[in-house]
Symmetry: C2
Subunit: 245 residues, 2 copies
């Protein structure tokens, strides 16, 4: 089982201007590859904050994925910071430069756009089929764009390189019973299946309180057992199921 | 200017089951009180991860806000972890117990629900007008619910206690010009107004590329100057404005 951390880079997330959607998407997709997302951080466009987060997380997790800050403007400082974090030169990547040169006609290929080819020395490119300017890999750090459509396209390439484990499967049972009502019984189920991650999430629907019980594990047969136990628990309280899957 | 960090606690965010919306909301509301959100972390329902994040962040920022993990079920471990992070007893809070006792009729006030009154010793309650079980404050850490409606109601109480500074204002100018086109001129504007935070965010609209330029500062008069400079920059490229505010 490999582990991962996502670092979301950008003042716009911390000012509330932009609602991040990359984290939830990456969480789901990483899971499919058998890589478990263990932490996420959101940091501002401040060099020390980026460098610290990258160095702490790359030491702690198998994979680090960054989003944001690799565009052409003055506030795009991710690549320079990644180079500093790794203690390598921040330099023009020849292949990235060639890609940008081929894409932009000559009068549009200005210094700002060429900055998108400046990377930590030794970076391996991640193709960008949407808007050309590539992401890259250095060590265990995968540097991707912040724009969701571009990030997702980049991840389709990244996905093939990840060494994960089995995909974690889940079962969900949602019932019109309050969390507090079934909590004790749920603890018993959790204790019986101690290696299964069981979460309890309250909701309201049709003006009624309910709880979604989610069990997660690689082994589908074990999850089926857990589901039976959850259904038995619910039945013992006369709970009304609303969904199961 | 006070600083803050948000710690989002919960496996459901890191599995992608739940899209977090608390961070963006808190970012906007903290800004209104003059508190600047400098970092956010998402951690799983794992004691060591929660304790480490809380201790690192409470040492680094003026305020720490946690969301999630204070319900009645086995996976709600935030309070026990906060007590361990502070090195204080995890114990029943008499006033919280009284609130729960008054709310639940006797046959519903079980051990699981009473667990919501177990807190770090010395905690000061944050009222919960939605579902009664309170949040609390200990040191510079504000422990709130994960359910957005409950968290928001709790924050209305928290807001009054924060010592912030002036609210950061912003101006936004959106134009149908690519980031790479205006990047150099934008850097000049940023250098002229070095204490103003200027961000550049690409978008596509009506199948055209555009860029939103956002300037943030406490001083409205200074922002008006920045806006004039941004409009002049756009004009120099013959850019078509799409919105400004």
């Amino acid at each position: 089982m490999s582990t991962a951390c996502v670092i979301v880079i950008g003042n716009e997330i911390l000012s509330g201007r932009t609602q991040d959607v990359n984290l939830a998407w990456l969480a789901v997709e990483l899971n499919k590859t058998g890589v478990r997302l263990r932490e996420a951080r959101v940091v501002p466009d401040v060099p020390d904050a980026i460098i610290k987060a990258v160095n702490e997380c790359r030491a702690e997790y198998d994979y680090v994925f960054t989003t944001g800050g690799i565009g052409p403007t003055h506030d795009d400082i991710t690549s320079e910071c990644i180079a500093r974090a790794f203690g390598v030169k921040y330099t023009r990547h020849k292949k990235a430069e060639a890609l940008l040169s081929a894409h932009y006609c000559k009068d549009k290929l200005n210094a700002a756009r060429l900055k998108m080819a400046d990377m930590p020395e030794g970076a391996t490119l991640i193709p960008n089929p949407v808007s050309i300017a590539p992401g890259y890999i250095i060590g265990n750090v995968y540097v991707m764009a912040g724009i969701p459509g571009v990030m997702r396209a980049m991840f389709e390439h990244v996905r093939l390189r990840l060494k994960g484990g089995k995909e974690v499967q889940s079962v969900t049972v949602s019932v019109f019973l309050a969390e507090g009502t079934i909590a004790a019984g749920l603890t018993e189920v959790q204790n019986r299946f101690s290696d299964v991650e069981i979460g309890s999430y309250p909701f309201t629907k049709e003006s009624k309180f309910g709880t979604s019980l989610v069990a997660r594990h690689e082994d589908v047969a074990k999850l089926a057992e857990v589901k039976d136990a959850l259904l038995a628990l619910i039945k013992s309280f006369g709970g009304e199921l609303t969904t199961e899957n």
